[in-house]
Amino acid sequence: MKMVVAVIRPEKLECVKKALEEKGIVGMTVTEVKGRGEQKGIKLQFRSREIEVDMLQKTKIEIVASDEEVEEIIDTIMNSARTGKYGDGRIFVLPVEKSVKIRTGETI
């Protein structure tokens, strides 16, 4: 069991959600975050000065899924979240040892 953590553009959330839903991936937890990637954000010209806007608003999606589903989830997110421009975000995969449904107590 894995947790797929994807940090994407906020405006892509709807798109990613729909794409995942089509693949039958429904459960997820979404958090508003701020982030900066290796480009250190966007550089704005201002007179002679240059200001760097790091810490742009991003959306973090966490999905816990079985090992087999992970690749499909990654692909789906990649396809639905990509614009090809800097700032598209990252996907991380973390191991999960246990997953319990509070309502039923069932371990999945």
Binding site: E11, K12, E14, L44, I51, V53, L56, Q57
Partner: protein
């Protein structure tokens, strides 16, 4: 001088002043968090620049001695000769008239920021608004209220259906076409970031409109009373209409309710001193339906006149200005409309509407183009993406 009239117009001035940040809040709630500050800042920018220019020369252009029906002369530049004594033909000090009229110019510029929300370069907006005040607003005010050609023709505009709403609404449409759509407009839905803020803005607008229309009687009298009553009625009924339409198509959103209210307020503006409460019902119902359809049309045509100044103020202003010619009743203010058998007024109103719609649209388009070519009306794609709060103000709305 009548102290009661003066008291009412002073109070109305304050009420109309508050509408401008009211527009800012109303608009700001509907944009994204990253542009929240900018949207309110644009309303303050309208307030501070127009305030200064009005005193400097724009009041004189609008209300100076008539030059061939087109514009006022320079007699009141820097308020020369404008004193504490009564304005001619009025019972209030001339200075009260100046500042009351100023607040109309201020809010008109604030309204048109709808079209350029979330993408305008601050410096270019300032330049554009100076030009626009000079070449569109001041002439319109002169034509209708300063004794210009439309007034001579017999057209009327009680509180700014043409001068304020048609002018800003059609300027917004022109601006939207020049400046282009917001990045992402065709890809994802751009959601309001703070609905309560928009509702607060709408509340301040409704509140201020009592001074906007009621004060346009320029006295505290029965005419002012009539204006306030029909204004409130039109707003309420248009809000109900918009709400019902929303209910038919889905859920009755709060933004729909207040949009309807603003449509009703805009539409009754030119008519508030000429129609009675029955006329207000019809005008309100018409405003609810027509402005909704206009918004719908705009969205279907994928025009990013983002916060619907055109659909609400522009179309509302057109409808109300024509409606005067239909529903005016002489018990309110001498004028008689078509329903009571007089076609003259409607004729004048039709000419006024056509002329001002065309002028506002074309001249605004030209001015926007010029500014765009000379200095760029729009921020860069990166600046737009990170938001105008950071890129134009180096500020963050909420931490």
């Amino acid at each position: 001088m009548d102290s009661g009239d003066t008291a009412w117009i002073l109070a109305s001035t304050a009420l109309v002043m508050l509408m401008t940040p009211g527009v800012g809040l109303f608009y700001s709630g509907m944009v994204r968090r990253k542009n929240a500050v900018n949207m309110i800042a644009l309303s303050f920018v309208s307030l501070i620049f127009v305030s200064v220019l009005w005193v400097a020369y724009a009041y004189s252009l609008a209300f100076g001695n008539d030059v061939s029906g087109v514009i006022g002369d320079a007699s009141y530049v820097f308020l020369n000769g404008v004193g504490l004594e009564d304005a001619e033909g009025l019972t209030i000090p001339h200075l009260v008239f100046v500042i009351y009229q100023m607040m109309f110019a201020v809010i008109t510029v604030a309204i048109l920021t709808s079209a350029i929300s979330e993408r305008v370069k601050l410096s270019s907006f300032i330049v554009f608004s100076i030009l626009w005040l000079t070449f569109v607003y001041a002439p319109f005010a002169h034509w209708l209220w300063g004794g210009g050609w439309l007034a001579k023709l017999g057209a009327v505009d009680f509180a700014g259906g043409i001068v304020v709403h048609i002018s800003s609404g059609f300027a917004a449409l022109a601006l939207a076409l020049v400046v282009g759509k917001r990045g992402g407009f065709d890809e994802y839905s751009i959601e309001p970031h703070n609905v309560p803020m928009t509702l607060l803005g709408a509340a301040l607008l409704w509140f201020g409109w009592f001074g906007f229309n009621g004060g346009s009687a320029l006295a505290a009298n029965g005419l002012a009373a009539n204006a306030v009553v029909v204004t409130n009625t039109s707003a309420a009924i248009a809000a109900i209409v918009w709400m019902i339409v929303g209910w038919i198509k889905g859920k009755p959103g709060s933004l729909g309710i207040v949009s309807g209210a603003i449509a009703g307020l805009a539409a009754i503006t030119p008519a508030a001193g000429f129609v009675d409460v029955k006329g207000a019902f019809v005008i309100g119902i018409g405003a609810g339906i027509l402005c909704y359809l206009a918004m719908d049309f705009r969205i279907r045509r994928r025009i990013d006149e983002s916060l619907d100044a055109w659909a609400i103020h522009g179309i509302g202003g057109v409808w109300g200005s024509l409606a005067v010619g239909i529903f005016a009743v002489p018990q309110v203010n001498y004028y008689t409309g078509l329903l009571l058998g007089n076609a003259e007024l409607l004729r004048a109103q039709v000419i006024a509407v056509i002329a001002t719609v065309a002028y506002a649209f074309v001249v605004s388009l030209v001015l926007a183009k010029i500014v765009d070519i000379v200095m760029g009306l729009r921020v860069t794609a990166e600046e737009e993406y990170v938001g105008l709060d950071i890129s134009q103000h180096e500020e963050v709305a909420y931490t």
